[in-house]
Amino acid sequence: MAGNGALLLGLVEQFVTGMQDSKAADTVTGVKKGQFTVLELVEWKGCTMAGNGALLLGLVEQFVTGMQDSKAADTVTGVKKGQFTVLELVEVLGSSLTSSEPRTRGRGIQLLSQVLQQCCTSLSEKEELKGLGADFVFGFVQAIDGEKDPRNLLLAFQIAQNILYRNYELGSFTEELFEVTSCYFPIDFYPPPNDPYGISREELILSLRAVLAGTPRFAEFLLPLLIEKLDSDVQSSKLDSLQTLAACAAGYGHKELKEFLPSLWSSVRREVFQTASEKVESAGLSALRSLTACLSCSVLDSDSEDSLDTFLDLVLKDCQHHLCEPDLKLVWPSTKLLQTAASASYRASYKITAAVVPLLLEQYNNHTQNAQRRTLVEVLQGFIQLPWGSHTEEGDENPLTGYRQPLCALVFSALTESSPTLQTAAVQTLTALGTQPGLLSGEDIDLAADHLTRLVLREEEPQTCSAAMEAAGSLARLHPTAFAFRMVPALKQEIVSAMEECEGRPTAQSQQALRQRSLKALSTVSTHPSLVQETVPIILQALCVSHKGSASFELEEVVSACRSLQQITELAKDSEESGRYFHQTVIPRLLGLAVQASLQGGGAPNPLIEERVLSAMVPIFSTACGCLHTQLAAHTTSLVLSLFLDGDASFLPENNFPLQFQLLKVEVPNTDRLLSELEELSCSCVHPFTHTSAAKCFAGLVNKHPAGEQLDSILKRSVKRIESGLGSDSPNRMQVFTLLLWVSKALLLRYHPLSTILTDKLLSLLVDRELGSLAADGFALLMNDSTDVLNRACHADVRMMYRQRFFTETAPKLVLGFNCAPEERKSSYLKALSHILNSLPRQVQITELPSLLPLLLEALSCPDHGVQLSTLSCLHPLLLDTPQVMTSHLETLLSRLLGLTASPAMKVRITSLQCLKALTRLPEHVVLPSRPRILRALAVPLGDKKRLVRREAVLARGEW
């Protein structure tokens, strides 16, 4: 390096003195000594041309051998100012580009690529390179020929890409440039394990692909190369070839492709037919798609034949006949090929559909076995669903229009077949047909609705039935009227008639099931506002009847009616029309029913006061309110509030309606009074559902209450109450504890300073004899989102990252508490810890766990099954993601896990086996020593008495 530098220095000096320009020499020396920067020079002295030459040489030398990065920028400036040309730069670089030192070559190439990239705009204006192109390209080709260093290659590819992209004159060197780059194809470079330069195989592949696919001028060389590489045995090379083919076809026209089409097709076909790898298959398919797309949009010469036509004929000839053998293996690959080709453009889809659909229709009639027919229907479905490319214009007719009649006939006849799988396939095909805009006629839709109704109500097979419901849901969105007139009345009939018939008699099991099914269908069908208004009254009516006390309605059914209603609410969430409808009709009606029911009390058992029904009803309100507009919401709130406060609260022993207040962003009037009522209720009521609801409600309000004195005084009051209520002799410890939990959660979510006090309280309860394990489970409640209150859907005040914050605050306290806790109470701490860990995001877990690992390992040996299980389920994802962190604890971990495989609890056995399986992801040299021991130990659970355990054991042992 030093010699090289001296040589170059000599060169510079000779050059400079030869020109007799001492000024330039001085300048260069100046630059070298770092006396002035080059930019200053350029600006102040305005060097002569000869000086420029010396300057360039100096710059290049400093950049290449001196490793001074700033010189590249200076060179760029020089080129931009026109002080030196790129050609001169290449000449000067010559010696470094052919140097035997890879680093020197690398620097040379780097400089060139920076200059080309940064000066490209000014260069293309000057047309400088286009004119001098051929020489430049030749120089470049010579320079990178035989390059082996991946870093330099990456840069070289970028330059080559630049050359192609800027459309420089390649002259007679097209083939040379192709040769010099394509010799690296396909790339089989794998970075060394501790790669210092961070060059990935992927990067190289992509940049080489950009070069090769960059210009149609390479087509005549590239396509044969690709065909040859496709024959290779190496999977990655096939994959790369197919992807490159897909990339280059996008830039080619039919002129380039024409000659190679038959052999390209046969290569692609072979890959799709024979491959075992999904990657190769999908690469093959996308290559086919881009070939077809390219042929579809090429401009034709008047005398040449339509190459798309020819190509598709080829495809059809090779694939079509496989469709006639629906139980042989090649049906599906052929189908995929045809569908891919068809999806490339409208023209292609028209041609292929015209050939395939009649064939499939005919085949369906020729084959009588259900399995074969099912395959045919599924194939057909794929063709119906085709997205016909982006080139569809308004006027284009759907290629399927001509086959509407026979297609419908086929699908409807398949719907009446006896095989459930065939029926399911037919239902899906029907959906596909129905979603094609403008394909089916009104009568077809009516018929479809009838068929679906029949399947929904009468079909025994659950799979078909649920497919039919799904289909009804998606078709109803597009054709609401047909379903409103055809399906809804039938379902209503089913629900209402059952109610009338069975007045006073216990319902038969089958009828119950039928009614539940109808209810479910009603809710799935309600995908359009107009349908919602048809279906909801039916359900409300059903609830009404159940309220009137005819015993025909089982509890189960009422619950499912509520669920259906809730589902409808979810579906209708986005529609304003339905929102208003719910608000005006549904909510008052439901409220009325529930209040009436609880008022009646005693007497006949009324399903509407059962806890389960009420809990099913709450989400209806929540969802409905969550999407109401503020104004509507305010109205509803004041309505409900007056009911709660001004009515006698004692008459509603299972009152849960206030829950919905928390949903609202609006100011709730009378907050203070409400809060104190709730606090009282939550601390004193003995009915568990009521006091929990009251606590939740209280928490929800506290969470939203604007900060300030009022809030502080409320909180002070309740903290005091909690503290006194938790005394060991207090009668209502359970209730107060629940309140504590919910209030802590409410404050934790909004980062309220008081939350620490409350959680500390909770921590201290961990050693409590009575509440210890409940408190530990309480941590799960704190960390997880609850479904009904205090979540974002209810507009609660939830800060970002509150979990992480809580974790960092609490974990040290937990560890500390664990260490000083008496032996028999330690498990509560471990349980609490694993609850917190379980809900942390994965990234945080990974960073935090190593420090907690000893504690977790301790937890594994804790006798409580719950703790074992939650610790294992916390470890498992970690083992899957980053097993490395376990390496140092492997020995302990293994013996603990192996011990747990003999645990009496089935779930613990299963999860520990899963963890053991995950351990196989550790590097081989780490696990190999333990392998024989584990294999021996895993032989035991193979004979476990539980099948589920055996299954995990088989999987784990198989991995080892």
Binding site: D231, K329, G958
Partner: protein
């Protein structure tokens, strides 16, 4: 398999896969002991990959549940498999894969018998003899190349 060369049976019949075993309440019950039954053995071997095709033995109908017999009490398992064509050169390899899978997955007490469905293969007896011979199986598994191929058949599909 070499690119471009023809497969022995390029377009075989495909059979439907049976679904996952339905979970019963008894299986979730801690106390109840589930016996090892035909279906469980079948579940073990049905997912084995065919050496030639990207398909499982079940899809090629090489193994069927009716051809699996197990007796938990006597600790015996007997599996018959049917190569897709009578001259299939892979028959021994398929048999070996089934055998290895069962050896790895069953408690040691089981005696495992794997053989070709009578009349389904040209050199039925020779293959059966190889598969029945403990020492030959052990020797085959010492061969690292063979072991790799077997492991490939047994690996779960990604």
């Amino acid at each position: 398999m070499e690119g471009g060369t023809r497969l022995e049976n390029a377009n075989p019949l495909i059979f439907q896969r049976s679904g996952e075993r339905q979970l019963t309440t008894e299986e979730e019950d801690e106390e109840f002991a589930d016996p090892i039954d035909d279906r469980e053995i079948f579940d073990l071997i049905r997912t084995i990959n065919d050496p030639e095709h990207p398909l499982s033995l079940e899809e090629l109908n090489v193994v069927e549940q009716v051809r699996v017999r197990v007796s938990d009490d006597d600790s015996t398992v007997s599996v018959e498999f049917t190569p897709t064509i009578p001259h299939c050169s892979m028959a021994t390899l398929i048999g070996l894969s089934i055998k290895v899978k069962l050896l790895r997955s069953l408690p040691e007490r089981f005696k495992i018998d794997v053989h070709i469905t009578p009349g389904a293969h040209a050199s039925e007896q020779a293959v059966n003899k190889q598969l029945g011979d403990k020492e030959r199986v052990a020797a085959a598994l010492e061969n690292s190349h063979l072991l790799e191929v077997v492991n490939q058949c047994l690996s779960s599909r990604t």
